[in-house]
C-alpha cells in the first residue's frame, strides 16, 4: 500500500513538479511577509509580470520549435519607442497597428533567416539583439520618447486601465496565454511546432513545411513582443531606449523554468506561465523581505536551479542524475 501511494505521489510530482515548487515558494514567502499574498501585491506582481509573460509565451513557441530568441528584449524596446513616437504623430488608433506591422516585419526577417535560410538561431537573434538596438537608437536619436499629453489619451488603458476590477495587462496576459496555449496544444499548427522541434528531419519527411513552421513561430514571438511593448508604452506613457534590455535572458529563464527543453520538442504554455509567475514572485518576495539586491541574485540562482532540478528529478524518479 505504502509503495503504491508513494508511486502515485511520484507520478503526480513528475507531472506537476514545477507547480509544487511554485506552491512551496509562495508559502515560504507568505510566511516571511503577510503582505506578500495581499490582493494588491498579487495584482501588482502579475501586472508587472504580464510584460515578461506575454513575451515568454511567444518565445515558448520558438523554443519548442528548436530555436532560440535572444532578440525579444531589444525588439520590445523598439516597439515601445515606435508606438510612443507614432502616438503623437498619427494618433494612437493608427500608431498601434503601425507598430505591430513594424515589429512583425522584424520577426518575419528573423523567421526568414532562421526558417528559410536555416541560419543558427542563437547567432541570428544575438545579431538582431544588437542590430535592433541600433535601429531603435537611430529611430529615436537616442532620446527618451514621451507622450506629450499624458492625461488626455485613451492609450493608457492597456497599461493602466482595469476591467471588472482586474488590471488590463493581467487580462491581456491571460488572453494571450489562453489563446496561444490552445493554438499550441490543440491545433495542427501546434502539433507541427512540436514535431519540427522534436525532429526536424522526420517532420520534413512527414510533409511538414519546416521552414514555414519556424517562420510562423518567430512571427508569433514578435507579435507577442509587440503586445508587450504596447503594454509597456501604455504603462509609463514614455520610455527609454533600453527599456527591454536584458529581458531576453529573463524570458528564457522563465521558459526554461517552465520545463521547455532548449533542444526543442517539449514545453507548454501553461508551464511557461508558471515559470513567469515564479520569477515574478521571487523577485517581489525578496524585495519585500528587504534583502539587498545582490542577495536576491544569489537566492534567484539557487531557486532556479532547485526548481528545475526538482522538476526533472521528479520526471526521472531519482534525485541524482544518472550521468556516469
Amino acid at each position: 500500500m505504502a509503495a503504491m501511494n508513494r508511486k502515485d505521489l511520484g507520478e503526480f510530482l513528475a507531472k506537476q513538479g514545477i507547480l509544487v515548487a511554485f506552491a512551496v515558494f509562495m508559502i515560504a514567502f507568505t510566511m516571511a511577509n503577510q503582505k506578500f499574498i495581499s490582493i494588491d501585491n498579487v495584482f501588482s506582481v502579475v501586472r508587472s509580470s504580464a510584460i515578461l509573460g506575454i513575451m515568454a509565451v511567444g518565445v515558448t513557441f520558438v523554443v519548442i520549435s528548436g530555436n532560440l530568441d535572444l532578440s525579444v528584449g531589444s525588439m520590445m524596446s523598439f516597439s515601445t519607442i515606435v508606438v510612443l513616437d507614432l502616438h503623437d504623430k498619427v494618433g494612437p488608433a493608427l500608431a498601434i497597428p503601425l507598430m505591430f506591422l513594424m515589429t512583425l516585419c522584424l520577426g518575419a526577417f528573423i523567421g526568414f533567416l532562421v526558417g528559410y535560410l536555416r541560419l543558427n538561431s542563437l547567432i541570428v537573434t544575438l545579431g538582431m539583439l544588437s542590430a535592433i538596438h541600433g535601429l531603435t537608437l537611430t529611430y529615436s536619436g537616442g532620446q527618451n520618447m514621451d507622450i506629450a499629453d499624458k492625461e488626455g489619451t485613451w492609450f493608457s488603458v492597456f497599461g493602466q486601465g482595469t476591467a471588472l476590477g482586474i488590471p488590463v495587462p493581467i487580462l491581456m496576459f491571460l488572453a494571450v496565454a489562453a489563446f496561444l496555449g490552445l493554438v499550441l496544444a490543440r491545433t495542427p499548427f501546434g502539433r507541427k511546432v512540436y514535431a519540427v522541434g522534436g525532429n526536424g528531419t522526420a517532420a520534413t519527411f512527414s510533409g511538414i513545411r519546416r521552414a514555414r513552421t519556424v517562420f510562423t513561430c518567430y512571427l508569433i514571438s514578435s507579435g507577442c513582443v509587440a503586445t508587450a511593448g504596447l503594454i509597456q508604452a501604455s504603462r509609463s506613457l514614455g520610455s527609454q531606449n533600453t527599456v527591454g534590455q536584458g529581458l531576453e535572458l529573463e524570458v528564457l529563464a522563465a521558459v526554461i523554468l517552465g520545463g521547455a527543453s532548449l533542444l526543442g520538442g517539449s514545453g507548454t504554455i501553461f508551464k511557461t506561465v508558471i515559470g513567469v509567475l515564479i520569477l515574478g514572485f521571487i523577485q517581489n518576495g525578496l524585495l519585500l523581505m528587504g534583502l539587498q539586491f545582490y542577495v536576491q541574485f544569489v537566492v534567484t540562482w539557487i531557486i532556479i536551479i532547485l526548481a528545475v532540478w526538482l522538476d526533472i528529478a521528479a520526471k526521472r524518479g531519482k534525485l541524482w542524475s544518472s550521468i556516469a
Binding site: 547567432i123 545582490y294 542577495v295 544518472s322
Partner: protein
C-alpha cells in the same frame, strides 16, 4: 587526421575569408573616413589588435571545449569579475603584507584557484543534478554576480601595483604580455583538444552522448573538468587584464559570455556540440575585435556600430552557410 587539423581548420568556416574582407574594407574605408594618419593595417595596430583580443580570446578557448562537449557556460563574465576581485583584493590582505611584491604570484594563484573552483562548481551541478548546463550557468551568471557585489557592495575593488602593471605592459619580441598569454592558451587548448584523449573524448561526448556513455566514457567528471578549465581560463583572462587595469567594477565582464559565444560560433563550433576547434575560435575572436576596432577607426557612431555588428554577424553566418552548401544534389530537409 592529426596532421591535417590545422589545414582543415583553416579551410573550414568562412571566418578567415571574412577577416580578410574586414581588413580590406577597413583599410580602404579608413583612407577616406578616418582621421588617423596611420593606416589601419599598420603593424603596430595589428599588434595592439592581438593584445586587445586577449580578454575575450582567452575565455573563448575554454568556451570552445565546453561547447564542443555539448554544454555552454553563461557565467564566465561573472567568474571573470570574481577572479579579478580576488586578485586585486588579496594583494591588500594583511597576512600577505610581509611579502612585498612577492604577493603577486600568490594573488595570481588565489584568483586562478577561485576561478577553477567556480567553474568546477558549475560542472558538479551539471553532473550531479542533470540540469542542463544552459540553465545551471544562466543561474550562476546571476548568483556569481551577486557574490561579486557582496565583496565590496557597489564600489570598485582596486589595487594599483605598478610592478604588476609594468609586467603586464611589458613587451617581449614585440608581443605584449596579454598577447603571449592568448597565444599560449590557444596553443595549449589546441593541443588538449586535438591531441589528447581528454580532448577527443570531449568531441565524442558532444557528438553523441549516448554513444560515449555506451563506450564507458565517464561523462560527468569529464564535463566537470571542462567546466573547471573554462573557470580557470576566465580567471586567467581576468588575471592578465586586471594586472594591468588594477581596478574592477562589479559590473565588469557583463555580456562577455555573449561575445565569447559569438566568437566561438563564428569560428565554426557547432552549438549542439561535437564539432569545432580553437583555431577557428581564434579566427572568431580576431574577427570580432577587428570589427570593433575597424568601426571605431572609420568613425561609426554607436547606433551604426550596433546595427553593423549585428548584421555582420548574420552575414558571416550566411556566408558560412553558402560556402558549405553541398550543391543541388543535397537532400532538402
Amino acid at each position: 587526421m592529426q596532421k591535417s587539423t590545422v589545414s582543415k581548420a583553416l579551410k573550414s568556416g568562412a571566418i578567415w575569408g571574412f577577416i580578410l574582407l574586414e581588413l580590406i574594407f577597413f583599410s580602404i574605408a579608413g583612407e577616406h573616413l578616418s582621421l588617423s594618419d596611420t593606416a589601419f593595417m599598420d603593424g603596430e595596430n595589428m599588434l595592439l589588435l592581438l593584445k586587445q583580443s586577449a580578454p575575450i580570446g582567452i575565455i573563448a578557448m575554454g568556451m570552445t571545449i565546453v561547447m564542443v562537449n555539448g554544454n555552454i557556460d553563461l557565467s564566465v563574465g561573472a567568474t571573470f569579475a570574481i577572479a579579478a576581485i580576488v586578485l586585486l583584493d588579496s594583494m591588500t590582505w594583511p597576512i600577505f603584507a610581509g611579502l612585498g611584491d612577492g604577493v603577486i604570484p600568490v594573488a595570481w594563484l588565489l584568483a586562478l584557484t577561485v576561478g577553477t573552483l567556480l567553474g568546477a562548481l558549475n560542472g558538479l551541478i551539471v553532473w550531479k543534478t542533470g540540469v542542463d548546463a544552459f540553465i545551471v550557468t544562466l543561474g550562476s551568471m546571476l548568483g556569481y554576480r551577486g557574490i561579486v557585489f557582496m565583496f565590496n557592495g557597489e564600489n570598485p575593488t582596486s589595487h594599483l601595483n605598478w610592478t604588476l602593471v609594468d609586467f603586464a605592459e611589458a613587451e617581449f619580441l614585440g608581443f605584449a604580455t596579454a598577447t603571449w598569454f592568448l597565444l599560449g592558451v590557444t596553443l595549449v587548448m589546441w593541443f588538449v583538444m586535438a591531441r589528447t584523449v581528454h580532448g577527443r573524448n570531449a568531441y565524442a561526448i558532444g557528438d553523441n552522448r549516448e554513444a560515449a556513455v555506451n563506450a564507458g566514457i565517464r561523462v560527468g567528471p569529464h564535463m566537470m573538468i571542462n567546466f573547471a578549465i573554462i573557470g580557470f581560463l576566465a580567471a586567467l583572462s581576468a588575471v592578465v587584464f586586471y594586472s594591468e587595469a588594477g581596478s574592477v567594477n562589479p559590473n565588469d565582464g557583463q555580456l562577455y559570455e555573449l561575445w565569447v559565444i559569438t566568437a566561438v560560433v563564428l569560428g565554426g563550433t557547432k552549438i549542439t556540440g561535437g564539432a569545432g576547434n580553437v583555431i577557428g575560435t581564434f579566427g572568431g575572436v580576431i574577427a570580432i575585435q577587428l570589427l570593433r576596432k575597424g568601426l571605431g577607426h572609420i568613425g561609426a557612431d554607436t547606433s551604426t556600430v550596433n546595427l553593423a555588428v549585428g548584421l555582420i554577424l548574420i552575414a558571416v553566418l550566411f556566408l558560412d552557410k553558402q560556402l558549405n552548401l553541398k550543391g543541388k544534389e543535397e537532400l532538402k530537409v
